[in-house]
């Protein structure tokens, strides 16, 4: 985000700068042109005035010469000839000036030539009349005509000079008008350009100050982030390092030193110094991983140990990644984490798990072997009892025979217990294979198994259509067998047993018995009987191993059967719940998860 803000701002600012610079150059050019125009027109004005002045001068010299000459004719005093004698020279000097001024002006040049001819004629005339004065012919006809000619020439000169001044003034007016239009337009244009440039500068100022504000905000966020990172490092036992690839300079965060068991900045940050802390057995691996980091400019997760100066060994998890910043500098940013606690906890847990597994296995093996091996002597006791009862009964007193019978009952009960225990331990065995099984078929098999009892009790057994589920078949067989034989066993003596199996699919959220459910849907199979029932306060006790609710003289049972049922539903991630009412009946509900 920071990068984007900065790069966008720099593009805009660069554009504004270029436009402003371009505008200023244009303004400069126009100003220069304008000023040189002004200078030119001043020059023109000055030139015109100079020419006009010079022309007036020439006229006045000529008039002075004429006057002086006339005075001389009247008085014969030669001092009056003074202006006449110098006039020629002065007129020539003025002409030189005029020629320079009129260098670029064709019309004026032509005029000057004409004027020069007139002046030459005037002076020729002077010379002619002077000769007549010298010879005292002033009253002659020739003098009179010369005198008149002089007047005509003089009038022509005056007129010519008047014309020339008028032309000069006209030309001046023309140029002035021309310049005026230029000059009128330029200042307004320049003023507008300047205003626009000023506007651009204001815009860029606004933009720069805005960006600055943004960057300040970002800087502040960065500061907060940095502080949070430092806190995180301390709590999480992380250490951070940066490797500046181009300059090969390393920086370590304060907490990296702490992870190594050192004070921040205790040694210069470098690869070699860090390696000294790495466990000697892991050093080769770390060096290799770091070399691949240099080559690939990336470091995957690696694990190694370090040894702090005080000898404590710590487990480290490390990770690094290449980062190219706004400044295009390449850095690898890396993290190390002290995971010693995790590893310790994990290995402790693993050990405990193994121990538990071992214990469990031993227990189930013990259970199996014990019940299996106990069968053999018991079978012999029973066989010997039956031998005594068959062959030796005549040698026993009635009391002895009664004792023998009691021994037989006890031994039979012990056999029952051992059989059930064996069954229970078999349910614990881990070889569980889930096979899609039609529960209707399974239940029919169970009914077959109990056919004799069913026939004897005349029990009515009904069931709704059951689903096909992926289950451990022999275990569900056992479950059905135990529940059904349970219902048959605890039936009322004077009533025909009625047992019904109901099936439905329920959502875990809608059934109060499924508070601990892990799945969404469950198959619910309910065994309802009209037997002797039980006190509801024993509903959960009923599933505990060896727990019995009824007198064993009245009802034979070991208290293992329902524990096996519980175990089987556990194995299937299901649940079993018992409800009962004395003398009304019992309801056993089995829940099996949909995705068995």
């Amino acid at each position: 985000m920071i990068r984007k803000v900065i790069s966008k701002a720099s593009v805009i600012l660069r554009a504004i700068f270029l436009i402003s610079a371009f505008l200023i150059i244009i303004i400069g050019g126009f100003t220069y042109k304008h000023i040189s125009n002004l200078t030119n027109s001043t020059k023109l004005v000055v030139g015109t005035y100079k020419v006009n002045m010079e022309l007036e001068q020439v006229l006045s010299y000529l008039k002075d010469a004429e006057n002086g000459y006339r005075n001389y004719i009247l008085t014969k005093d030669t001092t009056y000839l003074e202006p006449y004698l110098t006039a020629r020279e002065k007129v020539n000097a003025s002409f030189a000036q005029l020629r320079v001024s009129a260098d670029n002006n064709v019309a004026q040049k032509e005029n000057l030539k004409v004027l020069s001819k007139y002046i030459d004629a005037l002076f020729d005339n002077f010379t002619k009349s002077n000769a007549l004065v010298e010879t005292n012919q002033t009253l002659s006809e020739a003098f009179k005509s010369t005198f008149f000619e002089e007047k005509i020439i003089m009038d022509s000169i005056t007129k010519k000079i008047g014309d020339m001044i008028a032309l000069e003034n006209r030309q001046l007016e023309q140029r002035k008008a021309q310049n005026q239009s230029n000059l009128k337009f330029t200042p307004l244009f320049l003023y507008l350009m300047l205003l626009f440039t000023l506007f651009l500068i204001v815009v860029s100022y606004h933009k720069i100050s805005n960006d600055l504000k943004k960057i300040k905000g970002i800087n502040n966020e960065l500061l907060i982030f940095k502080e949070a990172t430092v806190q995180l490092e301390t709590i999480g036992k992380h250490g951070n390092w940066i490797w500046h690839i181009d300059t090969n300079i390393y920086t370590f965060s304060d907490n990296l030193y702490r992870v190594l068991g050192e004070k921040p900045g205790a040694f210069p940050a470098s690869h070699e110094n860090f390696l000294e802390f790495v466990h000697p057995e892991d050093r080769k691996k770390v060096v290799k991983d770091n070399q691949s980091m240099i080559k690939n400019q990336d470091l995957p997760f690696i694990y190694y140990r370090i040894i702090q100066k005080n000898g404590t060994v710590k487990h480290i998890k490390a990770y690094g990644k290449l980062l190219v910043g706004n400044d295009d500098e390449k850095r690898i940013i890396g993290n190390i984490t002290d995971i010693s606690d995790e590893i310790e906890n994990f290995s402790a847990l693993e050990e405990r798990n193994l121990e538990l597994e071992r214990n469990n296995k031993e227990l189930s093996e013990f259970n199996y072997v014990a019940s299996h091996d106990l069968q053999e002597p018991l079978r012999k006791i029973q066989t010997f009892i039956s031998r005594l009862q068959d062959k030796e009964s005549k040698n026993f007193s009635p009391t002895g025979l009664q004792y023998l019978e009691r021994i037989n009952v006890a031994a039979t009960r012990m056999r029952l217990l051992i059989d059930d225990l064996l069954q229970f331990s078999r349910t614990n065995k881990p070889d569980k294979e889930f096979v899609p099984t039609n529960l209707n078929t399974l239940f029919e098999q169970v009914k077959q198994d109990l056919a004799e009892t069913i026939l004897a009790t005349k029990a009515s057994i009904t069931h709704e259509n059951l689903p096909t589920l992926a289950v451990i078949p022999f275990q569900i067989h056992q479950l059905f067998l135990n529940l059904l034989s349970n219902s048959l066993k605890y039936s009322k003596k004077l009533e025909v047993p009625k047992i019904h199996l109901a099936y439905s699919k329920v959502a875990a959220t809608t059934d109060a018995n499924l508070a601990k459910a892990t799945q969404k849907w469950y198959h619910k199979i309910t065994f309802t009987d009209n037997g002797i029932g039980f006190d509801p306060q024993y509903a959960s006790l009923i599933f505990e191993l060896f727990s019995r609710l009824h007198n064993k003289q009245e009802y034979s049972g070991t208290g293992v059967g329902l524990s096996i049922c519980k175990k089987i539903t556990d194995n299937h991630q299901g649940f079993i719940v018992a409800q009962g009412k004395p003398n009304v009946g019992s309801v056993f509900t089995v829940y099996l998860p949909e995705a068995g």
Binding site: L378, R379, K380, Q382, T383, F384, S386, R415
Partner: protein, 148 residues
């Protein structure tokens, strides 16, 4: 057939069980001749000896020292001279694994030692009266274990 009696052999390391076995046949009075051996090694030594009289039915305990019932079963089935003997497994336990293994190895019936003498007599008389030809043809995993 040269002899009109039924020749039966039992291999069992348990003295009491051998006693019950012999007593039961005595009381059954079925014209049987019963030989017993104390373990697998004795049994195999007899069967492999020259001129041994092979039994019609061999009762084989599984859990015996030195050479157990499974090993004997293996050897008998591998030997074409002995492989036709009808073999009844005669064991204290009836674990799924044992039943499965002996069935696969070719035993003909599995008997769980009963816990009363009357039951024992019933079981033995039934086994001896089986028509092995007929029984073996219809043999499957479900009727392999003898249920009373």
């Amino acid at each position: 057939m040269p002899n009109d009696y039924i020749h039966i052999i039992l291999a069992d390391d348990d003295e009491d069980d051998r006693l019950f076995f012999v007593d039961a046949f005595e009381e059954l009075n079925m014209n049987t001749k019963v030989n017993t051996y104390n373990d697998g090694i004795e049994l195999m030594a007899y069967l492999n000896s020259e001129g041994a009289l092979l039994p019609q039915v061999l009762f084989l305990d599984l859990n015996m020292p030195k050479k157990n019932g499974i090993e004997c079963l293996n050897e008998i089935k591998a030997n074409h001279k002995l492989s036709d003997i009808a073999i009844a497994i005669y064991s204290t336990s009836a674990s799924e694994e044992d039943i499965e293994e002996t069935f696969v190895l070719g035993a003909n019936i599995y008997i769980k030692k009963p816990s009363s003498f009357d039951d024992l007599k019933k079981v033995l008389s039934e086994v001896v009266s089986i028509n092995w030809q007929y029984h073996t043809n219809g043999l499957n995993k479900d009727n392999f274990l003898l249920r009373m």
